[in-house]
Amino acid sequence: MRTQPPSLLSLAVDASVLHLSHFSDLSPLPDHILLDLFLKRTLRAGKLNEKILKLFLATGKEEVLSLIQTLNIQHILTPVLPTKSPKMSVVNNIEDGEIDIVIGALHSDLRPFMSAWKSIFSRYHLIIVKDPDLKDDLQIPEGLSFKIDIYTKSHIDKVVGSSTSIAFSGYSCKYFGFLVSRKKYVVSIDDDCVPAKDADSFLIDPVAQHLRNLATPATPFFFNTLYDPYRNGADFVRGYPFSLRSGVTCALSCGLWLNLADLDAPTQALKPEKRNSRYVDAVMTIPARVMMPISGINIAFNRELVGPALCPALRLTGEGKVRWETMEDIWSGMCVKVVCDHLGLGVKSGLPYVWRNDRGDAIESLKKEWEGVKLMEEVVPWFQSMVLSRTATTTEDCVAEMAKRVKEQLGGSDPGFGRAAEAMMDWVELWKKVGSGPSPV
């Protein structure tokens, strides 16, 4: 039996389904055609969408509306997504946007490092500075939701030029990151460190702890035997003067290291198996006028307050690519401590810990001419006796004055000190030129 050919109406309705989105008003259509259009054609053809549904609703025809209700066709409610609000650190009102994480890349393959730190670093802006001596290209994992700026030799050359005595090679490369950062707080961790784990095997977030340290006052004028009085569950003890309980601003936070502690080469060579497994659950303020070896492996600082004081100045002639062959951070740290003591700022030490991977050979490092050890003998008493003049009221002034004294008083005993003095003076100039204002890179 021959099928009936489609009627003209049928063809017209079919055609209209195809062009339904171009219609602005369906109300002129007779009810039965409207229903037909809706039920048999639009729905069956799977062409119902939000816009078309609105079209049909707009007709106001009762039967269409009751059909929609019976079939339980509903609008897709688009949830109103909140605008991306600045994520606040859990404590003390430091916004993520105020922080830069600066990493000095002494290894080209940063993939294991970045993977290890992904969950902790991903909310912050990262500055990676590649050691200018590193030949291979940096390898960063793909598809990470990091905000990273990578600076290499060419950036350093462009910004710093050749007019400076500062060498940004090796561990000193990270200072370039400090220089070009425009954030209030900087956290810096060596590229051979990964997050440590707490007793429940959760990753310890050193950034959060550093920020807590920097955001709470330091108490350098009197020692609190229960350590940091601003920590939960602690306070000032009996006998602590009340006038000293408001503390001072903390400018520098020095963290520690599990596994491979920051020991010098002779010590590590003597005890090659020695690893640090003791987690000391304390943060404390280093008292005023007390010097200490500040390690650059795991630190954070308030760049606005002490940025210029962290200077890449002291380079050993045999300086290498392992911490056992450097002293730049120890020197820089003592400069910062003197500046903080002079300006009434605080330095904290203790938590957070990072896990430092085994790297290098202490005995090999020992074979090199170990000048660092010799230099420290002179350096420590000299820094301890340093009293800056009253006229030095800014960090830059303090560093400039220290540089002058280094040249005058230490320059004679070792050329390394003379070079350090030059580097410090260059650093102050560099900081004044490109340490603030629009980014030079």
Binding site: G233, V237, G239, Y240, L263, K274, S277, R278, E377, Q384
Partner: protein, 363 residues
Amino acid sequence: MVEPATDTKSAVRTVALLKDELDIVIPTIRNLDFLEMWRPFFEPYHLIIVQDGDPTKTIKVPDGFDYELYNRNDINKILGPKASCISFKDSACRCFGYMVSKKKYIFTIDDDCFVAKDPSGKAINALEQHIKNLLCPSTPFFFNTLYDPFREGADFVRGYPFSLREGVPTAVSHGLWLNIPDYDAPTQLVKPLERNTRYVDAVMTIPKGTLFPMCGMNLAFHRELIGPAMYFGLMGDGQPIGRYDDMWAGWCIKVICDHLGLGVKTGLPYIYHSKASNPFVNLRKEYKGIFWQEEIIPFFQAVSLPKDCTTVQKCYIELAKMVKDKLGKIDPYFDKLADAMVTWIDAWDELNPTGAANKGKKA
């Protein structure tokens, strides 16, 4: 929640270090039942009990302990008129025990301090840790970021000058407290429920030139090196101030240790402090101290002892002069205190006449 070690009977009795060279000084007005918990650790040692308060009351000491006990009558008999320097109705009287001891080291503990547990649940032998602290050098001239470098598992960090790694003799070992922390009255009133549950696994040297609040609850010291400076002042009955005895001693010993090149350590060991004293009573006692310490601290921070003060006694007498001179104007109490400091030294020398005065040299 921290808890004290309740069954210490099974605690390992290690070799009692310095058994014949150390006295344990305990001030008390009640009983000494708490010693039962400490038995495995204290039994090998000689105790000096200083009974404060009513001398007619009998203090019961658990069996098996070797002790000598002194009450107020004994103190008066032994010291005669010099007894005026020993506080009455205050635990400051404990310093009498330091004076009459013939041993090289002293450990003093309050009678509401019990054995604490470390994070692994093991009972802490506080005395053993204090002895370790005292027998190892201190490092006051440069701060070591890994804390006490002489502890097992620790060391000096990179950058620490080798010439400073020998350290200096340790004169004082200041321990800490879990559970009830040593807060002053205002802090106690604001935070009556705060408990110290944080076990900080560190011992460290307090740097030279830095003062600290020394608590006498859990303290050990090298009597021959610093004993005469451990005077706990005039407190309690008839005095305008209380609860500053150990603080006063702490400021004095630190200044003298800094001058003589001796070390003071703080940190481990922890004891479990069980009793919170009444904060209102404490406030009345401390009240004046809270104001006075604002002037006392700068005074001590500015103290510079002359080079010819080469012994502890000389330093202390000099300090007494400075107290009279500079602090006398705050309150007549300080005049009295300065005099008492001199009396104390006289009494000390009288009871400890072995020729040479205590020198601040290597033990």
